[in-house]
Amino acid sequence: DAMVIQNPRYQVTQFGKPVTLSCSQTLNHNVMYWYQQKSSQAPKLLFHYYDKDFNNEADTPDNFQSRRPNTSFCFLDIRSPGLGDAAMYLCATSRDLGGTGELFFGEGSRLTVL
């Protein structure tokens, strides 16, 4: 059974049209992460939540926002997608911070920007 579920799997949007990607988890993990992965590249961390505490990476553009209304759900909002934001967006969870435990990834949401 899938433990980290991302929707939609594929999203097509127009340049500048806001997009929301969702992630839900059944693991009851404290930490939820959003990564951006472009073709043939490593996942790049955008931000993470430890419980309700939000932590933004220094180089994450303001165009990217996130919400975590409860333990199970986390959303990635892209306010004005540009062509350079076309990528796979990966949600991941871990039990705690410190990077000492396994990261569980979802299947990803592939974003296309026209």
Partner: protein
């Protein structure tokens, strides 16, 4: 500064051969070193992980070798199979770091 360097970028191995992927890390505070396997269109999945208190960890055909003094670790896939064809990422974390640092990935192609 790139915290984790991975090589090679791509690798072609014949079925039954040994695949070897290498990673080097910068920060001695790291204490958790996982390898992730990613198939096209899927999210990465944990394959095997090691902590620096051991020099080797084996799970089936997959082995991590760890050299603390050299700050290097490697993934060995024995008897490589076409089903192992995927992209492999090494990573490092732990200490005061609240995130994982990923290597740039190795695309493995195992030819039948």
């Amino acid at each position: 500064q790139q915290q984790v360097k991975q090589s090679p970028q791509s690798l072609i191995v014949q079925k039954g051969g040994i695949s070897i992927i290498n990673c080097a890390y910068e920060n001695t505070a790291f204490d958790y070193f996982p390898w992730y396997q990613q198939f096209p269109g899927k999210g990465p999945a944990l394959l095997i992980a090691i902590r620096p208190d051991v020099s080797e960890k084996k799970e089936g055909r997959f082995t991590i070798s760890f050299n603390k003094s050299a700050k290097q670790f490697s993934l060995h896939i024995m008897d490589s199979q076409p089903g192992d064809s995927a992209t492999y990422f090494c990573a490092a974390s732990g200490g005061n770091f609240n995130k994982f640092y990923f290597g740039s990935g190795t695309k493995l192609n195992v030819k039948p």
